[in-house]
């Protein structure tokens, strides 16, 4: 038990350091930006007509004049105390904005994550078990095509087909336009999330399918599968008993590693469908030079990604007893 605790605390410490690095890197990048937040948000024409006092006030609001180090340390101090600052665009606490947006995004991403994982694993196992046959070729072609297709274009095409031509599904947003918040039901939300969730599900399938296929093909050539064949086990039982158990471990790691990819996809997909999620907030924050919000989103999303990797590491030990014992011995 002790080694597990040491392992876990080491991982957590590394994660905290990485998060610190992420926030610093994101902050420095935004500081290095030559784009003037006043120009982008107020506009040249409005700036020209303002008095010096108004300009000073605005510069103060957007924090243009403070030295970067002082700003970063100030941000960090507040962050540790649980305050992520105030979004300059939305004029709400960053934590609140992220919380609201994450609610919309999270189950979109969760749905896509589960679907793409199950689909990728199934396709990979099918292709690997039938290597060289038609199924394998079809899956490989499908994966190649999928990984070459930009997610946002796929979204546009689905939008044209299902929303414009067939008119089955809404064109965008997460709730019907002009409806007050109280009368929005769960079915409305589901109805609006179908297309974005579907589009997002396609990202991430290719990677996991191809890796699983390779692993599965190796297993099918191993001695224990040969022996199982000689004993007269059916192909179905070989795949389920010997293949799947060995394939599931790398698949779990990959699936948790794909969280970052799913998040990236959600940024694009939310933009296409005007879905008010975290990704759309990130784009708005970036375009509007909203430093606190973008910094907050970057740190939160990085925390989600690192958290995913961390869970994968822990699951490794749970799923595979060999690793547990190996760690105890080492």
């Amino acid at each position: 038990m002790k080694h597990r605790l040491i392992f876990t605390s080491k991982k957590l410490l590394r994660m905290a350091l990485l998060l610190l690095g992420v926030s610093l890197a994101a902050f420095l990048l935004m500081c290095a930006s030559p784009l003037d937040p006043l120009q982008t948000n107020v506009g040249q024409a409005a700036l020209g007509t303002m008095s010096q006092e108004q300009l000073d006030q605005l510069e103060d609001y957007w924090g243009v004049n403070d030295p970067p180090l002082q700003r970063y340390l100030g941000w960090l101090g507040d962050f540790i105390r649980g305050d992520m600052g105030t979004s300059l665009l939305y004029r709400q606490p960053v934590g609140q904005v992220i919380g609201q947006r994450l609610q919309n995004s999270l189950w979109l991403m969760a749905f896509a994550w589960v679907v793409s994982g199950v689909l990728g694993l199934t396709l990979g196992v099918l292709a690997g078990a039938n290597r060289g046959k038609l199924v394998d070729k079809a899956v490989r072609g499908y994966c190649l095509l999928l990984s070459s297709t930009p997610a946002f274009w796929l979204g546009l095409v689905l939008l044209v087909v299902f929303a414009v031509w067939l008119g089955w599904l809404p064109i965008g947003l997460s709730v019907p336009i002009g409806m007050d918040a109280a009368s929005v039901t769960l079915s409305h939300r589901l109805y609006h999330a179908i297309l974005p969730a579907l589009t997002l599900s396609f990202t991430g399938v290719a990677g996991i399918a191809m890796h699983t296929r390779e692993k599965m093909a190796d297993i099918m050539e191993s001695d224990y599968v040969l022996f199982a064949r000689a004993r007269g086990e059916s192909a179905r039982s070989i795949v389920l008993r010997h293949g799947l158990r060995n394939v599931i471990l790398p698949a779990i790691t990959l699936q948790f590693a794909s969280i970052s990819e799913i998040f990236g996809g959600s940024v694009l997909v939310e933009q296409v469908f005007s879905y008010p999620g975290l990704g759309q907030a990130a784009v708005n924050a970036g375009l509007g030079s909203d430093l606190p919000l973008l910094l907050g989103i970057t740190v939160v999303s990085a925390a989600i990604v690192f958290g995913g990797n961390f869970i994968a590491d822990l699951l490794y030990g749970v799923v595979d007893p060999r690793i547990r014992r190996g760690a105890a011995r080492g």
């Binding site: 546009l156 095409v157 998040f263």
Partner: protein, 274 residues
Amino acid sequence: MNHWNGRKRAVILLAAALLVLCGVAAAGALAADQAAATDFTRKNLAPSPAFLFGTDWMGRDMLARTLTGLSLSIRIGLLTAAVSALIALCLGTLSATLGGWADGAVSWCIDLVMGIPHILLVMLLSLAFGKGFAGVVAGVALSHWPSLARVIRGEVLQLKGAVYVQTAEKLGVSRLRIARRHLLPHLLPQFFVGLVLQFPHAILHEASITFLGFGLSPEQPAIGVILSESMKYLTTGKWWLAVFPGLSLVGVVLLFAAIGEQLRRMWHPASVHQ
């Protein structure tokens, strides 16, 4: 069919793919003027023999715009993939040969870069370089190296442990000579395949980031710009504005992926059977 072995087929496929890509790039450069020409007598035309991809709301020929956008994408893809592969090569070999704290630092950087969702990182980098052409190139080039750097680091570590390298060291062969005679021949094919396989990613991310508004300016007919502009007109049924440019982008990315695959076939014949 005996003389059509896999190697010859790979060379021919490679040449064909390269030829098509060069053709697209050249056609795009030639069609740049035509892509910007507006003509309000022919606006919003659906695809027809005269305008294969249709025209947009300003009467611009979508075929010319798509070709120009693709050639822009190809050029940016080449540039960014080359830069990021070079970064990967330098950092990968450095961390494997120096070891110790340098190795730790590079690994930490890799974890850091991989921890930020990719699109978000490209966004931040592009902002830091002031968006536009410089922003896209810097954003894509500086964010794509970690996975290749990891591969190269692993490869160099493995080579360093190989018996023939250790023997050469014991025989007093100079480090430079070992690097040139023993390490480089193994590393180069891996590096080039990695480089070519970066193109598809680079092109897709360039298009994505431009689509989001952090990339090339709206005056340039990049694929991302075309697609983001088309969003305003899709709901009125002008599907051709989005479908064909995106489809051709997929085609170009597939060609790059095919080139990478064929190169891999030629350099690592054994890997084809995996």
